[in-house]
Symmetry: D2
Subunit: 473 residues, 4 copies
């Protein structure tokens, strides 16, 4: 099946073809195209030309557009989920969950579009302001470039598209080359709404166009989700643009002595192995209090054994392949390196093509790649701690800081974790993988710059403007 | 010493004299006057006549006035504390603390006067609102009558005066007959500032004037702190006025098994016996987990024994007399009744004139007056519980609901206490007696109506007004 | 057709029948029942029994319930509009508009149910608060009694029901005796949702039950829309309950010299005569700048002549009958009195049964009932002014203060109107009849107490509770 | 007099001397030093070492420190003003005003330090969040580098220092080489407070240290006020740092036909010539409606003639010299170029050393440097317009967008100006030069990135951290 690119209301082909295949069996999922500078230029021109129209859309109109997108996605849910499952190699049950979340993002964006921030305040704190009052409204920043990753090809794109519409900004979305199809399906849906043409384009890009996206002065903001190295370089090259970066992590979990181990293990297995760990907030490092460590290891290993491997498009599949063989090989090497260096593999560790087994490791050292870097694969390390301070330090001993999980019923441990963990979000009694779409989401240190989560993305896509006016004139 | 009443900038005498004496030794602290309807009428007239001027005071002017009051109180701190200690029979160290809090209330009110609530929002959620936006500013309600109790004669009056000024309302304050002097001292201070004359009056009143205060249509709001029976009747008779009621309580404390008993006991002794328990949020009922009960009882009794009785105007005094003999006798009777009915007095229980000993009781039943009613005296009951649910139910088993304290390090107990305790405020790891002046404060059930705490009082003293205006006209 | 009352999930009959007839032709619209104390007691008991369940409903559940009500109303829109048109004698186009607004109220309530107010703040402004932080969540007040008027029998009931559900409170609704049917239709709709049974009852009541509703201590809040005399008496008898009163008005409009008269006249004719002026914010008094007065009078009269009289259930009808003959006679008398006293009737003035003609009067005096009281009929007075100050004073010269309209393009006139008009809402460049459902709505002076408008009603249906907790424990 | 640099509590010399002279008469104001990398390294190390201590300062402590700084500045006001007047060549009356504003900034920062943003919200918008709630607190970003310009050497430094302290961040301040002395005086003041040593350093820097300040990874945020070219380059080189840029402008004013010309002219003369136009929001371009143009020109010219030239340290001086001869020569050339190209000089245009006369120009073209670039000198251009649209377009016809002024009494012109002017702030009925210190301040387009104004600066110096926690666990 052929998917055309979407530029400002037109579905177009280019002379650069792109084939998208299923990493599970290498079957072709669809054919699409790469845009070059010419197509990108057109998309930017069109986006600029609807800036004022987008800025002036009344609340009820933005609300209607966003809700109608949500409704249409819901109508095509199973179709979309299948495309997504195949292009990303994502087990169907998780693909279906992703569609549900994309629907929720559009619905929440619809609600938030009516609640853009506005401040009204007294100016007369000194005689200089006598008789005056102030209003701050937040205006759209302008043309936004959204760059989405392969791992949640629909929902992480939607986390840029929906807030852009809600805040009155045109957006050009660049999906990952390996997974552009679900978002091109979304383009068909959006095209049927009353969103002004030009306010939304989807372009898979060649390298030149990709670079231009970062440097072009007509673009006012970059919103990027992807790898740290690419992201930080983008910030340097962005010129006057605003930049939002959602990068990776090697999320840690602390399991205190009073935890319900059965509950915790169940959460951690999903957090560790869902979509083969190819999740920014995948559970990578688990620190367990010594009094419950053995029990934890036992239950965790037993639970992991139950995971069912299979094709992504089957509902019963728990784990499937990785996005490509290159990544599977990388993970295999990191695990082998760790083993060579003294780590003990409690379960898994083997690769077969694009499939890498759910893998549990202990006895690691902090410098091992499986600890220090973002493994982005189905690998979990589990270590023991004896006091809470030590566990906090272990989680912080990382270049990354996205989210962390803490299982405890102690107020003081909750407080300490929140005050001291160097992350964007501390999840108490759940895994760091926890995310609902309206919460603020983003990392510190190497993990990112700025926050997403509809209301928060919207805020970053706006520019305050002050009105000082007479109140008693 | 003679204290004149303060009406709209004038210090006046009336033909009804009022003598204020020290409950410790019956010595005369000062002489003042009772206002009748004539004086009250004048105060109301003057208040009405400055309504618009008060409404239109710029922020910087209100800020300056409020800060200058705070500064002047600080300058006269020891003098004011002495008057307060003597008229109220309040140990000097607590009287000094009360002055400090009154200063803080004026300072915070100064800051909040610049931050009155204002909302700006989109109206165009449906086509009917196309092109329009909304502003809500909060305007002063009008003339306020403040009625203050004897137990914190300065600070609880200030909790009405300072927010009234901050919100741009004139206020007429009626102090308790037993303790009018410290607030008449405050009138001298305020008179020296640039507050428009008429915006503040202080009148001790005869019964007729007191009734008129409640029913007079020119008064737009009643802010009352005092007994439940008087307060609720006032609400009935208030006509169209807004009403805020800060009434009594019989505050409960829960001590969980993981608490640091030494720390808890120290807090509870102050909460139970400071100013002889004549405090709305005095610690009256303590529920202690059975595993730490005996230790708690022992330490609490030992600690109570250390309290030093003395004259209110001596710095070393921990406990002194009650406000009058009538109240001391009442408390004595309640304690005797409880004992007759099976309760066990662990310490104290005796009266000598206006002095009633710090008293600890256990083995009580819920219907006993020392449990069920507001004892407003130096009496604490301590009972044992075996599970947290039971403790929560015991605290809730009361007509009152002001504040409660919970000592625990367990997240689930904190959550349960907060969700289920029927009170205005749950204080975790401190006594219910905890109050800082900017926090919202007030009760549910029989304990009150509305909230104080500067920002919250200000909000209750304001009336929203909407402006719907064109945004793109 | 027979409509049963709705008590906590059961549709019930009583032994007191009530016939509802169409004021246009006296035809029977339906039969229903009056509840007595027995039925009310049951409704209150059931409401109390689901208080905790309602308090603990998760956001997503309240959201789903409220949205599903909105969707079901939309499905039955024409059916509901017809019942409403007939029972109220309301022209169908306005009845349809009212259904749309009721849908909107449930939708907005759904959104707001996820956004209940919550405050988190630092407590450590003085050393007394060291190491502590504060949280204020707002909990449901308890059982609410909603009392709705005849003029918007559905939407003004919904303005109580939807916020009650959104805030987690059970509600018992008492509709007007003349117009109970549309809200009994709504009961059928709500009964099909997952709202806990007991959280909603609809009872038309006999006098005894009506009185009990006000005085019963198990009810925690009264939310009343109706006449001032009944409302204010209710406040007096309400005991400890919270009270919200939406009462009447005699809304004024100011037309400045720079106004577009054609635009203004069009707005004012709808504001003055829609639903025969039986609207709290009906345009009753218009003050027009002398330079445009004659033109205004001419166009207004011509426009009024075009209004088409007819049956309420016909789409082409602009004006129809009043709610009953008694009211039509009252309006007739007021108009005759005014004429006798020197006023000049420019158009209309005649009655035929329940129909009273759209009527335009000038040369009035402030004491005439058509000026000073709430006419609640199709009568508009139009007077001339020469300066803006005078116009503001004229609008303020009233016992009422609900909303006012000001047509002007001058910043200083807008500011003056907003600062000085004694009303709940100032509508610039539109009539005072302007209302969208999410804006704060309510009056000052004799016109009311508190505010409605979903978010604002929700706030009034909540009680703050403070949690003071350790942050660094 | 010798001024030592201030590093983390120590006053130090370096081996690079720097002489600061008065641009009016070239007299030496003081001697100080340039820091190199060694000193900067030390300052950064010390700053890092107090990060946690700063983060954990309780509110009352930050409040006390900030207020005590404000009080000490007030005590030394005349002394500080004199140093400032001399080093900057700023007329004493404006220097005194600057000290007052610096005091105000510290006072407001004190208040805001107790009100750092905190959000508490429900997480359970979908079943995935069942039983959970969210808290967002904002934590300090880390070490801040503040870079201040010469034109407000004290207050624009204070706009970085005070918010840094209020938000709990250590800050290293680099003043301009020409005007470091007043902020070194401030260092003496701050050194006497309880601010942890290391939290504040002041270093004039050599080029190498200046570059390191931008690139050093231990610094977490750059807050720069200065020229666009330097600022934008800094953003590129900043790595992972947050960046706030306050750059220049060529502010426009629109004078509508209904304006009070006498009032407007008075405002515009101050806005145009105060401190010789060396102000980011100096009135550079005035667009006057044709009906009032001639009158405006006449009054403006007459008013300008009255300005008194003199030494900066004399109170009667209205205008004095520019910061150095190089700048005076630059302005002279731009004016000559404009004249050559057809512009007409209505007044002024001559230079004498560092002094450039207040200069009024008309008949300009948009490309002339005096229009298109930031003149940063005492030059004002005045042009005529016939309709408001045209005036808005003229103001927008610029690379810059800081603030704009609009004199009008028309609601629609106010709305259009606010919606369409591409600036950070629109000032109605005052000049763009209007600034009070607590309002949000900053530009769009070439004029800046981010906002200052205490609360807004504080927000930019904070990083959100989410806590997801059980609410019903």
């Amino acid at each position: 099946m052929e998917y055309k690119l979407y530029i400002a209301g037109d579905f177009v082909k280019t002379d650069q073809k792109l084939t998208v295949s299923n990493p599970y069996d290498d079957s072709i999922v669809g054919e699409t195209f790469l845009a070059g500078s010419k197509e990108l230029d057109l998309a930017i021109d069109k986006a600029e030309s609807v800036k004022n129209e987008m800025r002036d859309l009344p609340s009820y109109k933005k609300f209607e557009i966003l809700l109608s997108i949500a409704d249409r996605i819901a109508d095509k849910k199973s179709e979309l989920a299948l495309v997504l499952a195949k292009e990303a190699g994502k087990p169907l049950k998780y693909a279906l969950g992703e569609i549900d979340r994309a629907i929720q993002v559009f619905k929440v964006a619809a609600e938030e579009s009516k609640r853009l921030p506005k401040e009204y305040f007294s100016i007369d704190w000194t005689p200089a302001g006598h008789g005056k009052e102030g209003l701050v409204k937040y205006f759209p920043v302008g043309v936004i470039a959204g760059i989405a990753p392969f791992n949640f090809p629909l929902n992480l794109a939607v986390h840029k598209i929906a807030p852009a519409i809600a805040s009155g900004n045109p957006i050009i979305l660049k999906p990952a080359r390996s997974t552009p199809l679900s978002v091109l399906e979304l383009a068909k849906i959006i095209d049927e709404t009353e969103l002004p043409k030009g306010a939304f384009s989807v372009l898979t890009m060649d390298r030149e166009a990709g670079n231009q996206l970062v440097t072009d002065n007509r673009i006012n903001m970059l919103s990027f989700t992807g790898s740290p190295s690419v992201g930080w370089k983008m910030k340097t090259n962005a010129g006057r643009k605003k930049v939002a970066l959602e990068l990776g992590g090697n999320a840690g979990v602390i399991v205190s002595d009073d935890s319900d181990i059965e509950f915790v293990v169940k959460k951690c297995i999903v957090g560790g192995f869902a979509y083969s760990g190819q999740v920014c907030i995948h559970v990578q490092r688990i620190y367990v209090h010594e009094t419950v460590f053995d029990n934890f290891i036992y239950q965790f290993t037993e639970g992991t054994k139950q995971l069912k491997f299979g094709a992504p498009d089957e509902l019963s599949t728990d784990v499937s392949v990785m996005i490509d063989e290159q990544n599977a090989i990388r993970v295999e090497e990191w695990v082998k390196d760790a083993e060579k260096d003294g780590a003990k593999i409690l379960f898994g560790g083997n690769r077969k093509g694009t499939y890498f087994e759910p893998t549990i490791i202990t006895n690691t050292k902090r410098e091992m790649k499986v600890c220090a870097l973002e493994v982005f694969g189905p690998v979990v390390i589990i270590e023991k701690f004896s006091d809470f301070d030590e566990a906090v330090k272990s989680v912080n001993d990382s270049e990354y800081g996205l989210q962390a999980g803490v299982f405890t019923n102690k107020i003081n441990e909750m407080n300490q974790a929140y005050n001291e963990l160097e992350v964007g979000g501390v999840i108490v009694n759940d895994v760091p993988t926890f995310r609902v779409d309206h919460m603020p989401y983003g990392g510190v240190k190497n993990s990112g710059f700025g926050r997403e989560g509809i209301k928060y993305s919207i805020f970053e896509m706006l520019e305050p403007k002050l009105l000082v006016k007479n109140a008693d004139y």
